[in-house]
């Protein structure tokens, strides 16, 4: 039995030796599908691992902490008071530092100071503390614990020392796996020195069991209960990663189309071989086993190549991903890929499942045919024609489901299901629509050659339909995602122009510094207005929310666009009679104008009617603006978070120089409008760079699918063209006609892809974006983009057609005559 299986397998595999290019195409399909999918999964896993490391550092996701009302540093005396009162608290000081790497490049890192002896036991850092030289960490010069991937990114090694931009030298670096990426972990005393925050802390960790009931704080301790926001990262970034996954899945499906096309055509070419095998006494079960084994071998080869490429692709994109996650969510993601064996195995399993899905159907289809039907040359084509009708019916059903989902879907998952139904439904309907169009063309044809042109194109359809479906999917995805991205770019740029009303923004380090700066600024004639604001990190119905207190100034009404508002919203806000809220907070919590929001304050519950809604693109958290006066009354002791300045344009550089000289403000503490716009746009570009790369690759995959199909059809093509040659058409003319057929089919597909792409864009803008991020973009049309994409698609088709068409040009009489001999 095993020996027989071996012979059957060897016989089946010999097909690929005779058609190496077809085999290569199938492997390329598998390779691309697996590569793109595993690449995206690698990026997601890398990010999730980083979040987990950050969230688990000091305890479970919802680690309770004590912070100041405004989340600003507070006096460490509170820590001493609480410890004396028997509270199991541990001090933490966090801040951003800029580290000068050995190559001179500056890297921003998060410096965290801890007191290792009192850290709550639930955190991953405790396990680390028990395994390392704690004395070395505590006793001068101390140690700087750093993640191995961050250390490698910096180009440094354990034992090295590093210089911060503010002149301080870090204690010697020590690589520790438990430390999250982008973080420097030092002793609390060292952190206070490095951050120039002597005697200050940013939060107190509280032991889990003690914090469970959140006991009231002693009166003299002006702190409030909160939870560490690292746990929110997973929640906030879920949509981002789901978008990436959807794109990866799309690329995977398009890649599988190649596999499906190549496997189906290989099956057609091996029809006779299968008949011979059966006639010579190979049982159906043995043939199925051998075909499945063959698929397994192909899946393992293509999958292995794909997983390796996926790793390479992820390595290329992880830098951009890390930058955009940092820019969008403040999340630190390691810039160097570290993946476990499970990822590699999952990639191979995905390749295997994909191969079975794409290739298994042709095996099943062939198995259902009676053994004698394989001898009929038209059997496969008849089956293809039937499958076109079946596909169309399923396509219509999927489009109906999509229509229903538009009305009943209420989650991001149903949003993606809608996209899947729309894309697959449209793709499955394509062959029938093309067939009907070609039939129409045939009716209009007057000359015999014209009649043949349309009829033959229709005959080609069964062999090319899968590749054309892949082209439709890729084009529709490019048009849809491109429209959404471009629309977002336009909206985002004009929104930035409006929102960044002040010319300069500065963040004082303390209230004392803020007071000095305000006094200094009031003496500067070039400063037209100061717009200080106060911020409190809070939660509205458990959603992380930033409460911003703004002063009464006409600039807000003039430059802060509201999507909708009650009359006189800004005046009412200034009088403390309500709040304006961000669009995503309104959507996320289903808040309408006039609804009341309840905020927990040290002073009790603060009920605020909603006065307006504004766009706040790129901010994953909710935000609400309230009167600064009211905010300071509710949260006494708040320090100024930032000050916006309206300045005479000509005096900006002098004012910046003055602020830097007098208050040593630099880096992110003082930033002008242009720099802020540049930074925001950079984050935007980074966010969509992975999308753009995946989209381009998807179009490339579709071109490969077409090439595969054309190549596989090339043999059969000669026998179809030979009668025309015999009737007096030259091979070069036949080649041109074949090329024209391909371009005509591709053009029709492009034309059909535009409405599908626009429908996709509509779903992205109106459904997925709203579900994922909570904002809705205005609709824009980009006809030039569609034309460019269609041009690229036709170019790809042209390139894919060159080799098969050239083969027709070069074909000699002997080969053409042989077609008649074969048909005899």
């Amino acid at each position: 039995m095993i020996e027989r299986l071996g012979w059957v397998l060897r016989t089946l595999l010999s097909h690929w030796r005779r058609h190496p290019l077809q085999g290569v195409c199938l492997l390329v399909g598998l390779w691309l599908a697996t590569g793109l999918w595993t690449g995206v999964q690698a990026l997601n896993e890398q990010a999730r691992d980083s979040y987990d490391r950050a969230a688990g550092l000091f305890g479970e996701d919802n680690q309770s902490v004590l912070v100041s009302p405004g989340n600003q540093p507070f006096d460490q005396e509170y820590f001493v008071t609480l410890r004396r009162a028997g509270w199991p608290v541990s001090p933490v000081l966090q801040g951003s530092v800029t580290l000068n790497g050995p190559d001179g490049a500056a890297t921003r890192l998060r410096l965290t100071g801890i007191e290792p002896l009192s850290v709550p036991e639930q955190g991953s850092v405790v396990g680390t503390i028990q395994q390392v030289d704690l004395v070395g960490f505590l006793v001068p010069p101390g140690r700087t614990w750093i993640a191995p991937d961050t250390l490698a990114e910096l180009g440094l090694s354990s034992g090295d020392t590093a210089q911060l931009a503010n002149g301080h030298a870090l204690p010697p670096l020590q690589s520790l796996a438990a430390v999250p990426p982008g973080m420097l972990l030092v002793d609390i005393g060292v952190a206070q020195r490095m951050l120039d925050q002597s005697g200050r802390l940013s939060q107190l960790l509280v032991e889990g069991a003690f914090a469970a009931n959140q006991p009231p704080l002693p009166e003299q301790v002006a702190l409030r209960w909160d939870v560490r926001d690292e746990g929110d990262l997973q929640r906030l970034t879920d949509s981002f990663h789901m978008n990436l996954t959807a794109l990866g899945l799309l690329a995977f499906i398009v890649g599988l189309f190649i596999v499906h096309a190549a496997a189906g055509l290989a099956m057609e070419q091996r029809r006779g071989l299968l008949q011979t095998l059966r006639a010579c006494g190979t049982s159906l079960r043995l043939v199925v086993c051998a075909l499945l084994l063959e698929l397994l071998v192909l899946a393992l080869v293509g999958g292995s190549l794909g997983v390796l490429s996926g790793f390479a692709l992820a390595s290329l994109l992880v830098g951009d991903l890390a930058a955009s996650l940092r820019g969008l969510y403040g999340a630190q993601v390691a810039g160097q890929l570290v993946l476990d064996s499970q990822w590699w195995l999952t990639g191979l399993a995905m390749s295997l499942a994909g191969t079975l899905l794409a290739g298994g159907s042709s095996v099943l289809k062939a198995m259902r045919m009676p053994v004698l039907a394989w001898a009929r040359p038209q059997a496969w084509r008849d089956a293809q024609a039937r499958s076109i009708r079946r596909l169309a019916i399923m396509g219509v059903l999927l489009l109906l489901v999509a229509g229903i989902l538009i009305y009943v879907g209420e989650s991001l998952l149903t949003g993606f299901m809608l996209l899947g139904c729309l894309l697959l439904g449209a793709a499955w309907l394509l062959p029938l629509v093309l067939s009907l169009l070609l039939r129409g063309g045939r009716k209009l044809a007057r000359s015999p050659l014209g009649h043949w042109f349309w009829a033959d194109s229709q005959q080609q359809l069964s062999g090319l339909s899968l590749a054309l479906m892949a082209l439709l999917l890729a084009l529709a995805a490019n048009i849809g995602v491109g429209s959404m991205t471009e629309g977002f770019r336009l909206t985002f740029t004009s929104w930035l122009d409006q929102r960044l009303a002040a010319d300069l923004y500065l963040r004082p380090e303390s209230q004392a510094q803020a007071d000095s700066i305000e006094q200094w600024l009031s003496r500067q004639p070039s400063v037209q207005a100061q717009l200080p604001s106060w911020q409190v990190q809070s939660r509205v119905r458990d959603w992380p929310t930033e409460v911003s207190g703004v002063i009464d100034h006409p600039l807000y009404a003039r430059r802060w666009p509201l999507i909708e508002a009650v009359p006189g919203a800004w005046d009412q806000l200034a009088q403390g009679r309500g709040a304006v809220i961000s669009e995503q907070l309104a959507y996320r919590l289903d808040i309408e104008l006039g609804d009341a929001i309840e905020l927990e304050t040290p002073d009790g519950i603060w009920t605020l009617p909603v006065l307006g809604r504004y766009a706040d693109y790129g901010n994953p958290k909710g935000q609400l603006l309230v009167s600064a006066e009211q905010l300071n009354q509710r949260w006494p002791g708040l320090e100024v978070s930032s000050i916006g300045l309206l300045v005479d344009e000509a005096a900006i550089s002098d004012l910046v120089a003055g602020l830097q000289d007098n208050f040593e403000l630099g880096g992110f503490s003082l930033i002008d409008q242009a720099a802020l716009k540049r930074y925001s746009q950079q984050v935007f570009e980074q966010t969509f760079s992975a999308t753009a790369a995946l989209n381009t690759l998807t179009l490339g995959v579709a071109a490969v699918a077409l090439f595969t199909s054309l190549l596989s059809l090339a043999d059969a093509r000669l026998s179809q063209l030979a009668p025309l040659w015999a009737m007096g058409l030259r091979p070069s003319r036949l080649a041109w006609l074949s090329l024209a057929q391909m371009l005509m089919l591709a053009t029709l597909t492009c034309v059909l892809a535009i409405p599908v792409g626009l429908a996709l864009a509509w779903c992205l803008v109106e459904v997925v974006n709203v579900q994922a991020f909570g904002w809705r973009l205005p609709w824009h049309w980009f006809p030039f983009q569609w034309l460019t994409l269609a041009g690229f698609a036709l170019l790809a088709v042209l390139l894919a057609s060159i080799s098969p068409v050239w083969r027709i040009v070069r074909v000699g009489p002997t080969q053409l005559l042989r077609q008649f001999a074969h048909n005899a």
Partner: protein, 222 residues
């Protein structure tokens, strides 16, 4: 060797059932050769396919070397095709991706009965010894049919079934292939059931049976 009793077979077509075989009775003794003749659509290829176990009869029985095909499952019929019979097709049905040597040994390997000495002798007798390293597409039609004959004989089955084995060949080549086939069938001690339109070729076999409208209408045996 072969006993066919009251065999009937019909196919469904858009106009209704089409009766192809209508109570065929036929016997072929071991070591003998039989030519099955008749006009197109008379049912001769259908009869051959049923005997080969490639299709199933509606009623009646087929016995080959004592084994009845009635009620055999797919796997058992495959084993029957592998061990008891070998089919030579008009279109040769060689495996295009395998060399001549592998094509010759193909069925014998599947049956687990590869005999290198017998294969070498077959190759020599069929004039294929110098072509063993070639692929089927590099051979002429006559050479390809010789490979198909060799593949069937390589397994030395009790019964060889040939469906117009020389239908694609010119008269001279057909005669050559036929001579070789009959010689080797004799040497392999097999029986031969051959479908043909050619009365001239049929005359070279021991017995001629004519089918018409699914019934035997002529038999050279009294």
């Amino acid at each position: 060797m072969l006993e066919v009793s009251t065999l009937t077979k019909s196919y469904q077509n858009p106009q209704g059932p089409l009766q192809v075989l209508n109570g065929v009775d036929l016997r072929l003794t071991a070591g003998h050769t039989l030519a099955l003749m008749g006009e197109s659509g008379s049912g001769k290829s259908t009869l051959l396919h049923l005997v080969a176990g490639l299709d199933q009869a509606d009623a009646g029985e087929i016995k080959v070397a004592g084994t009845s095909l009635t009620g055999l499952g797919e796997a058992a019929r495959a084993a029957y095709r592998r061990d008891r019979v070998a089919v030579i097709f008009q279109q040769f049905n060689l495996v295009p991706s395998l060399k001549v040597a592998d094509n010759l040994a193909f069925q014998a390997r599947l049956a687990g009965r590869e005999d290198t000495a017998w294969l070498a002798l077959l190759a020599e007798r069929l004039g294929l010894a110098s072509l063993l390293d070639r692929y089927p597409e590099q051979l002429s039609g006559g050479q390809q049919q010789r490979v198909a004959v060799g593949r069937a004989l390589a397994v030395r089955p009790p019964l060889i079934l040939a469906d117009e084995p020389t239908g694609n060949l010119d008269e001279h080549t057909a005669d050559e292939v036929m001579t070789l086939l009959l010689e080797l069938v004799r040497e392999a001690e097999s029986s031969l059931l051959m479908v043909t339109h050619s009365a001239r070729l049929a005359a070279r076999l021991d017995r001629q049976v004519t089918l018409s409208a699914g019934r035997i209408v002529g038999d050279s045996l009294p």
